[in-house]
Every structure is written in C-alpha cells, then in structure tokens.
Symmetry: C3
Subunit: 349 residues, 3 copies
C-alpha cells in the first residue's frame, strides 16, 4: 500500500468527525516580513511594535489574514485535496490575537454532508478552529467544499445541511482586540484622520491602486501557509487543464484587497470577522488586481467605548480600476469581479 | 468626499511645513533575510551577529540601504504620489545604527519650492529624517521632486531653492559606526585583505558579476519598504503608459550596485553617506545589472584611528558588463548607464 | 592590480591547503520563513517550536538542507568560481542541530587534486566543515569539482585522489538529533502514522505533487545562501551561453525533492547524512519538478531506541510525474531525471 496520502473523498467523511490537522506552525517575524513583501500592508498596528504597544497590545500582532491563511492551509490535505470547488465561508471570527512565537494548529469538525444528485460529488461542511500552543482558540470558521467521490456507488455518508449565520453578531467582534488606549492612537502615524463616525452606511470607497500578480509571488505566499492545493503550483498539470494555467489561491485576492483597502480605510486596523466570501472568478498571474469597498453597516461593540465595527463589502477586480465601483450587471457579477467579501473591521471611535 | 488619499499637489506644500509620515515600521530579522534573498549582500558586519559583536557592535546592524529604503518609502504617499520625476538626493547621512526590533518612522520638512515656467508643475525640496521609537535620528537626507499642480491657475505656494551640500563633510561620517576593534576584524571572514590604505584615489574597480532582475523581485522589495509609488506595481496602467512596463524603483538599482560592489570592496562595510545620486535611465525587469566603482576621494575621520572613509562613484549599467568602465560619451552618459551614485563608505584602516 | 576576486584556478590549490571562507552568516527565523515560502516544507519538527520542544529539542531546528546550502554557498567564491562542473558529493553528515541565532561559518581543506589529461582543467577535492560561532561543527562533506587552469602550461599542483565513503556509517547519523521523547511524538500533528517499521527495503513511494519553478524563486533562494555562482543569476551572459538560460542551483532541486517527499515520508524529520548525489541534468525555470523515493536500506542507530534510519534514493524529474518511478533506461538515466540522491533520514520507531 502506498504511503503517500490520497486525501479524503466524499464518502470518507462522517457527521461529527473531528480531524486534527498536520502541521503545527510557529509564526515569526520572518513570516511578517515576507507577508509585507508580498502584499505591502501598511496598517500601523501590524507594522509597528511601538505603535501597537502605545495603544494597548503587548507588541504588533500578526496580520489577521495571515493567521487565517495559515490555519486554512492546514485543512487542505484533509478536507479539500479532492475538491472540485471551494463553495463558501461563513461564521469566521478571530478569537485571540496571535504574536510572533505563537504556534498555530488547526482542528476541523464535519458539521454537514450533502451528496449531489449526480452521485459523483458531495458537499462537505467543516467548522475549523485554529488554536495556539496553549489551546487558546484564535480563529473559527465554517467552509463548505464540493468533494469528489472515490466510488460513485458508495452510499452517501450523511445527509445534513447545517444552518449558518449570514452575519457575525457584533458581540463576538472584539475578542481578538485588547482595550485600545484612544488618546495614544496617533492618526498621523496611522495614515488617516477618519474614524468610526466619519464613515456612513452606503458610502463607497475606491481604493485606487492596482497590484499586478506574478507567479512567483502567489506561489511563495501559498507555500508560506503550507497550503498544498495542487492547482496553485503545478504548471505541467494545469497547463493541460481547464484554464491552461495555475490558479491563484482565492485567499491571495483577499489579502491583496485588504492591503489595497488601506487607501481609504487606514484606521480599520483589525479584521474581526468574515461574514462570507465569494470567489466570483479565478485569478491568474499577470493580471492587475484593484478593489473598492462599500460600508454595509456600522455597530458599536457591547461594553466598549474604544472601537466600533464597520461591516464592509470589498470587491476585487482583475484589470479593471474601480472608480466606477464595478459590481453587478443585473443578476450577474460584472465580468471583471474576482471577489465579493463581506466582513467586519474594527476602527477607533 | 472620498476617503482615499489623493496625495499632495504642488500648491498643497508650504515652506517650513512639517509632515509626519505614516506608517511606523518595526524592522526585524525577517526583513534582513528577505533583503538578503533579494540582493545577496555578503558584507560580514550586516550578515553575522558574531562578526559584528567581535568588532564592537552589539549585534549585526540592519543594512544601511534597507534603512534608507524604509524611511524613503514612508515619504512617498505624502511627497511624491503626484510626482512627474524624482530629481535628486543630497546631504544623506546615517546618524545611528539600526538593529532588529527598532521601529522606524519618518518626518519631512519642506525646505524649498519652485514653480516651473509651464505653471503645470513645481519642484518640492524636502529634508527627511528617519528616527527610532525613542526619537533617535537614524538617517537624514534632502530630495527634490517635480510634482504636478492640481490646478494650473493656483498661485505658486512659495519660491525658494535651498543651498545643498555636494559632498558630506567627513566629520559626520562616523555617527552610525561604533568604535571598531581593529585587531578583531578578520579579513578572511570579511572576504578581502584590502583596507583603507590599499585604495588609491582614481582607482577603478569592475565588480564583475551581473544580476538579472525579475518583476516579482523588485515588487517584493519595494513593497517590503511599504513604498506605494504606483508606477512599480501596476502593469494594467503602465502597460498603456510611456514605457509599456512597470518601472523599477530607483533604490533597487542602488541596492543591486551595493551588493555587487562586495567583489572589490568587501571591507567597505558601512555606507556612511550619499552625497548625491542620479537615476540616469529607468530599469525594467529582465535586464541584467552590472556595476563598477571609482575611488573619488579618501578621508580620515576626525578623532578616529579605527576606520577611514572612501568616497566612491558607483556606476550601474543594464545589459553591459563593466570591464570597460562605461560612464560618459562626451556630455552624455553611456546609454547603458542606469545610475551614477556618489557616496562615502567606511573601511577599516 | 584589480581588487575584485578572480577566484582560484586549478593551479592555485595545494593538497592540505585550508581555506577559511567569508562570510559568516547568522541564521534567523527570517531565513526559516523565506525557506518555507520557497519550498513549502511541512515537517513538524522544523515548522513548530511547540512540536520540537515536546519531543526533546530546545526549539525548532533550522532545516538541514538550509544549513547545507548556507555552508555550501560560502565555499563557492574560493572553490568553484572557475568550475566547469560540480562532479559530486560524498560523506556529508550533520553533526549538530542549528537554531535561529546561530552564526555559520565554513572552512575547507583540499584533500585531493588530479589534473585532467587535456591539461586545461583539473579535479579539486575539498572537505568542507560548517561550524557555529563557538566552533561546534554542524556539517561536514566532501565535494569535487572540475576547475579550469588559468595557464595550461602551469604544472599540476598535486596528484592525489582521496578514498571516499560511499555510504555513511549509521553510527554517525544521530549526532545532530537529540534524544526523542517518543510518547510525545504526535503522528496526527506530524502528518503520518508510518514509522520506521512500516517501511520496507525496496519500497517505492511516489510523492505525487509537482512544483513549477520560477526564475525569481531560485534566484531568491540561491542569494539567501549567499551563493555567488554566476550561472544562476546572469541572463545577459547565460543567454549567450550553452543553454541560453540561467541554470538553477542543483541544491534547489534537492530542497524541492525533500519538500515533496513529505507526502509519503512525513515522519522522516531529519536528513542525517547525504551519501552521494548526482545532478543528472540541469533544471531551468518554468519546468515542474516531481519526485519519488525508494527505500535502499534501514538501520538502527547504535545505542538508541528512539529513532532509526532509512537510507533513501530520491529521484527528481522535470515535467514528468513519478507514478511510473522513472529512473534508468539501460545504462542511461531516463531523460526526465534531474537528480539521483542517496541519503539517510531519521524517523521515529
């Protein structure tokens, strides 16, 4: 019997099954530097120990999306190695800040299974928790993926579609954000004078700049997360495939959009939760990614006067600047749209 | 009103205006590793804690040019987002060593303004200071850029051209270099037997090797410095522009020339000052950069017997090896020349 | 006389000559992050401080091959700058674990010299030792390279071919591995249930995945090791050369094969020794590297009950998936084969 891992097929999953994923990963200032080099983020809290300390963190925390990508990457060999499509996320929120030196591990519970009518594939719903070396949970999210069956004749391993939240409740949004010392929060160093009250629901912000993506960049990023999804790395196989090219990890687009969003949202220093995300179209190297955001909502955080939350929709596009806020044409997305992301950020009051 | 930043136009500046730039940045061993991976520097002092400690540093300092690039990057959104051309540097010198863990911030004072006769643009002169979390200045330089006006009819915001030094005085060259324990300085580990007295004014050194630059490399480097100049990152826009390509950050050429210069200047371990630099021609990805240097001068450092200074001109070229020392053809630069850099390095006696 | 270094030619070497190489190099968590981004390794011991501590290391050690590449890189300017071909390795074994913060230096002794009958070149054999700041040896290996003569008429500087081991003795294989606390070794976190006794001599494992290599990636990696071999970096020169392209450092293929081998050998956490390696064909950017391994032997380690050793042959190929285990066609290697590596790994019992 071969010792390489074939990954799990649809019929290998069971409702309630708990999967402890390999490989634990110590996050370091080296990861922070490489993530900065790949995305160019400029949020002061994640960039500066001095700034972070001044406002109440023990030091600069690891970028929220870097934490997400590392946790997500661990689940790939067990959950989505035989996936046909990554269908969605829900209920993603950050539960504790992560600092250089922390070791991240991940665990997933199968919370739903639904065979497709073709009987060739099925949908697997997992709730994944990322946690630190001492067991502290740092991140939780649900995702669902369409996974091939090894054997079409195999019986469906379960039949349950879980109920999922469409929007995270503001009461969980502050868990990964310590109390912020507002007088110490320096707008000039942070890069913007706009705080919570300056943003209006319905307001749209063009993030202006564009980032062209190279093959080396997305592969270095995706390997940094130890994400092994084959479609990102193997031109020999993908060259013969549907697109003729390596497909860029969807999370790469999320990180690009977040970095671009600094121009207009510089004080939105913490991604507190992701309500849901849709990868509308695949991204390929040599394309230039642009982004814009709309404020979908605002919320106070129960019991906190330091920060509030903005609910944002960020749209990323390929080769299409966003001054005209491309989104939908009737029922369809504008063909330039790559990503439709609904999430909560925290911002000082 | 849109919350993204349009940057400053010529009429937005005032003589004496002080700009505190975003984003403070903690420099780490992660940045050092990535900078090594991008440029391949081999100077022992910056590469080895053990070597640096042996000669008198508390640990390996951050490469001088990495400090320069990080400080420079912070000024881009405020000073040169609407620049037509980066015209020059002067009076750049390093005032304190920077170590992993230090947080760098930057502040610029507008010291000169001169509208061009077209009234469409003007020249802005700024003196920028980079400093640490405790206020220690680490770097100071003047640069001048040609910046667009938003409104041609706007009155000129000032009319003053500052006097600038052409060469830094040797008395400021040692500020960022602790006393060096000469007997502990190991030539074999450093890679060369040549010290101050072995170099002659007028001597020319071909640095032999060439470095081909890829798009991913210069973009990763420039994002590492959080430099947001759009021309480096956006192929969609630049593809329609004057060159049809992304332009590589001029500082990338400086770092390449410095790394190449190890071959012939291995003991010149500290860039103490940059007298001036001219980006003679733009560099594009896929070109191979070569370099050579001429010793323009030598100087003792007042009160110091450990190290002396060499004033160098380093010339970088594209796709042109430097055994024939390409420089000028009559009044013009040789068409292969990219960079003409005049600077001081320290070297053990 | 020019101050740049021409490197050594065959007639410059002497039997017994000892060369202390520049540049000492402090290895950091930044190097670890970049190495992860470039190769995507997932071995738990090198990835996680928490995992490493649990089983008996003080923290996660630096990847063995990263140590090898850094030590190797130092020898290039002195040993192989004028090499025609890198002919082989032997007797490579790791003698002490390396941790972030350690500074690596290298020293080589010339142990053999053999002029070729053409009198234009000769073979130089060196034994290289990598050691830490406190003198602890971390790595030792012999390599031999064919080096040009500067002057064909120069007399041969020596005539001795050393006897070299073909396989490292198991008694030296545990030197860089502390005692492992077996009950604390968590298979789920490590990514596999297979331990020493599960592998059979003669067993073959397809590592399945493929990695496409970009120019930026191999150059960043090779500069990270401060390896200055010109053929990897200079498209201007190589474009006019034999292959018309930059040649990828052979060690890059070794690291790719090692990272790929996780799929099937996840518990083989330590490369203890390299018996020998042959770079069968050059690798160029845009090719996709695959790998498979055969178990050539198994061994206990004298006096140890925690770990045992597997002797592996790993074969890497270009643009050729390895489910058919490509190796030899009669006397010749299969044309897809890049690398034939014979080495020992340690794995828990």
């Amino acid at each position: 019997m071969s010792k390489n891992s074939p990954g799990n097929y649809f019929e290998d999953f069971r409702i309630g099954q708990v999967i402890r994923h390999a490989t634990p990963r110590t996050v370091t200032s080296g990861d922070v530097a490489l993530y900065t080099g790949l995305f160019g983020g400029r949020f002061a809290v994640q960039s500066s120990d001095a700034f972070a300390k001044a406002i109440g963190y023990p030091r600069a925390p690891i970028d929220d999306l870097l934490v997400f990508h590392i946790v997500f990457g661990k689940t790939v060999p067990d959950v989505s190695l035989n996936a046909v499509a990554n269908l969605g996320y829900a209920g993603c929120y950050f539960r504790s800040p992560v600092y250089p030196g922390d070791t991240l591990s991940a665990l997933s519970e199968v919370i739903g299974l639904k065979e497709n009518s073709s009987r060739k594939t099925g949908i697997v719903y997992v709730r994944t928790t990322g946690y630190k070396q001492d067991g502290t949970p740092v991140l939780e999210y649900v995702r669902w993926v369409m996974v091939r069956k090894r054997d079409e004749a195999a019986p469906a391993p379960g039949d349950h579609v879980p109920r999922l939240p469409t929007v995270l409740d503001p009461k969980v949004l502050g868990e990964a954000c310590p109390p912020i010392d507002l007088p110490a929060y320096d707008n000039a160093l942070a890069g913007s004078d706009y705080r919570l009250d300056d943003y209006q629901v319905g307001e749209r912000i063009d993030h202006v700049d564009g980032s062209t993506v190279e093959e080396a960049e997305h592969m270095i990023a995706t390997r940094l997360y130890q994400n092994t999804a084959r479609i990102h790395f193997n031109q020999y196989i993908e060259g013969k495939g549907r697109f003729g090219r390596r497909l860029i990890y969807g999370g790469h687009v999320i990180s690009l959009a977040r970095a671009l969003s600094f121009n207009g949202l510089a004080n939105a220093f913490h991604v507190a939760a992701i309500n849901g995300g849709r990868h509308v179209a695949p991204l390929f190297a040599s394309k230039t990614v642009f982004a814009w955001s709309e404020v979908l909502g605002k919320s106070e955080l129960p019991g906190r006067n330091d920060v509030g939350a903005l609910r944002l929709r960020s749209i990323a596009t390929a080769d299409h600047p966003c001054e005209d806020f491309p989104f939908r044409n009737g029922d369809d997305y504008d063909p330039a749209v790559l990503l439709d992301l609904d999430y909560w950020v925290l911002i000082p009051r």
